[in-house]
């Protein structure tokens, strides 16, 4: 069964460094999302992406964040200058945008900023 994959599974970085989190959505999906979950807390929406552009972003998704679909398969989240409070689990999701509008989540990348 097709699934969303994410790499790396765990990323440790120093404050102020740039990180890129990578996702491979399900191949025929058209809608892509990033969410984050700070340890023990709820899942928070960051950004949605469709037709090669951002369709919606939350207040969390400030100028430090950017997303890109550099080729036909990858979807990336870049954090330009990481802060301690960026430490969280980052989930990528994709959806076909049909009927159920269901989103399928990847396994997540645990980002630790030291």
């Amino acid at each position: 069964e097709p699934e969303v994959t994410q790499t790396p599974s765990h990323q440790v970085t120093q404050m102020g460094q740039e990180v890129i989190l990578r996702c491979v959505p399900i191949s025929n999906h058209l809608y892509f999302y990033w969410y984050r979950q700070i340890l023990g807390q709820k899942v928070e929406f960051l950004v949605s992406f469709y037709n090669n552009e951002i369709s919606e972003k939350s207040e969390i998704f400030d100028d430090q964040f950017s997303v890109e679909r550099p080729d036909g398969s990858n979807f990336t989240l870049k954090i330009r200058s990481t802060k301690l409070e960026d430490s969280a689990m980052y989930f990528c999701a994709s959806g076909a945008g049909t009927v159920t509008y269901e989103q399928y989540f990847g396994p997540g990348t645990r980002l630790t900023v030291t």
Partner: protein, 111 residues
């Protein structure tokens, strides 16, 4: 701004007992999703509720949606230890084509 409120946030149950988790939301939507998350894991889709009055059942879990009351419930019947996890409801927003999550209900089922 959309609010999605779950209660309870923490639930400790004995095996064999029944209980209901509630999910209230503040905006119009007729698509409601329930996810399960085990510690350190991703989100596993449990139910997709697509219309008012929708009811779905899978094993010991049953979910329902009342769009007029803006309420969804997740009912647990005869709980077993394997159901211990955190359960999230999420509301679909048409304008943005994305979902907003509740805070989650951490369920612990004790022998």
């Amino acid at each position: 701004e959309l609010k999605v409120e779950q209660n309870p946030l923490f639930l400790s149950m004995q095996e064999g007992k029944n209980y209901t988790i509630y999910c209230n939301y503040s905006t119009t939507s007729d698509r409601l999703y329930w996810y399960r998350q085990d510690p350190g894991k991703s989100l596993e889709s449990l139910f997709v509720l697509l219309s008012n009055g929708a009811v779905k059942q899978e094993g010991r879990l049953m979910a329902s949606l009342d769009t007029k009351a803006r309420l969804s419930t997740l009912h647990i019947t005869a709980a077993v230890h394997d159901l211990s996890a955190t359960y999230f409801c999420a509301v679909y927003l048409y304008n943005n084509n994305d979902m907003r999550f509740g805070a989650g209900t951490r369920l612990t089922v004790k022998p």
